[in-house]
Symmetry: C2
Subunit: 216 residues, 2 copies
C-alpha cells in the first residue's frame, strides 16, 4: 500500500485558495504569485514593477521567506504596504498564509497584490493561493537549460520574466535555445527579458501586467 502524504495537504490548501479567489474577485484586486529561485532578483523585479505601475494602480506586496524581513523592509521603504510571512522552514507559501497576510491590507483600495513566494523552483508550483496568475522569474546566471530541469514551474507560469539580461555576455546564455525550451513546455507564455537593476525591458513587462489587471 502506498500512502499519499501530499494529496490531503493539497486538498485542504485548494479549498481555502478557492475562498481567497472569491474574496479577491469581490474586492476587484488582482493577485500575482511570483515564483523564482533564491537570488534571481524577485525583490528587485518587484521594486522595478512597482515603479512602473504605481501611478496607475494601488499596490501591496506579500513577502514570503523562510526567515528575515529584509525584503519587506525594502518594499516598505518605497511607501508600499508590505506584509512579511516567515514560513519558519517551509519551502512554499500556502493559501492559509495568504489569507492571514491580507488581513491587515485595505483590499477595498487595492488593485494589485504581488506575492513573492519562497525562493524555490519546485515546491511553490503545486500550491494554489487563490491568485489570478502565477508568473516566474529566471535570471540569466542560472543558465538556459533550466526549463529542461525544472519543467513544472515553467508550465505553471503564465508569463516568464528573464532577469539580469545585462549579464548575458558574462554567462554564455543562449536566448534562442531558452525560448525553444519554453515553446516546448508552455507555447503561449510570453517571455519578458529585463534587467531589474538598469530598467531595460521593465516597461514592456509592466505594460503587459497592467493589461491583465485591467482585464479583471
Amino acid at each position: 500500500m502506498q500512502i499519499d502524504m501530499k494529496q490531503p495537504i493539497l486538498d485542504k490548501n485548494d479549498r481555502l485558495a478557492q475562498s481567497n479567489r472569491e474574496l479577491f474577485a469581490e474586492k476587484k484586486v488582482f493577485v500575482l504569485d511570483l515564483l523564482a529561485s533564491p537570488g534571481s532578483g524577485k525583490t528587485s523585479t518587484i521594486l522595478a514593477t512597482i515603479e512602473a505601475l504605481r501611478d496607475d494602480f494601488n499596490i501591496a506586496v506579500i513577502e514570503g521567506d523562510i526567515a528575515s524581513s529584509v525584503d519587506s523592509e525594502k518594499i516598505s521603504a518605497q511607501g508600499i504596504p508590505a506584509v512579511q510571512i516567515n514560513t519558519g522552514g517551509a519551502c512554499h507559501l500556502e493559501s492559509d498564509m495568504i489569507r492571514r497576510a491580507v488581513e491587515p491590507l485595505d483590499l477595498d483600495n487595492l488593485d494589485l497584490i504581488i506575492v513573492e513566494n519562497v525562493g524555490n523552483l519546485v515546491c511553490p508550483t503545486d500550491f494554489d493561493l487563490g491568485e489570478n496568475m502565477k508568473a516566474m522569474i529566471l535570471s540569466v546566471p542560472e543558465g538556459d537549460d533550466k526549463p529542461l530541469k525544472y519543467p513544472g514551474v515553467f508550465q505553471a507560469a503564465r508569463a516568464i520574466v528573464l532577469n539580469k539580461i545585462d549579464t548575458m555576455s558574462v554567462f554564455n546564455f543562449d536566448k534562442e535555445l531558452f525560448r525553444d525550451h519554453i515553446k516546448n513546455l508552455n507555447p503561449t507564455a510570453p517571455v519578458f527579458p529585463i534587467s531589474a537593476t538598469n530598467g531595460d525591458g521593465v516597461d514592456i513587462w509592466a505594460q503587459w501586467l497592467a493589461e491583465q489587471i485591467r482585464a479583471l
Copy 2:
C-alpha cells in the same frame, strides 16, 4: 489537533540513511551531498573538483534532478561513472533513492561519491542520505544576503563553496558581509571562493576535500 505529515517520512528516511552510512563505511567510500540553488554551478563545480582529484581518487557521481539527464551526460563525457536520478517532481533526494543509485556502482573500487542534490536551498537540508558530509554552493549572482533568508542550509553545510567569484564586480557582492553572516550561523564552516569556469580557488577547495576523504 495537528498532524505532523513530515515526521514519519523523515523517520523512515533516517533509518535507511543509517544503513547507507554503514554500507559506505564498510566499503570505505566517502559520500559528499552537495546542496545549492538551481543554476549556482553545481555540475561545473563537480567537474572542476573531479579534474583536481581524479589522479588521486576513484570518483563516481549521482545526479539528482526532477527531470532530464543533461547533468549525468556531462559527467559521463569525462569518463566518470554517473547515475542519474529523476525524482519526477520531488524537490529533494531521499535515502532510498541513493540506495538504488549506488547499486550499479563498484563500491569496492570507489573512494568518493559526489551526490548532486536537486537544485533547492530548502528541502534537501532535512534529509540525511547517509552521506559523510553535506556541503553547499552559493553563487555570487544569488546575493550576499542569502544566509539571512535560507539559514537552514548554511547551518547544515560543513563547508560552503562560493562560486562564480569572477562575476563579483558585476553583482555588487559584499564578501566580508557574506562571511559575517556565515560566522553567525555556522562559525566552523570554511568558505571556499572559487570560479568553476576559470578554475580560480578550485585547488584549495579540492585539497580540503581530499583531506576529509583521507581522514576516513
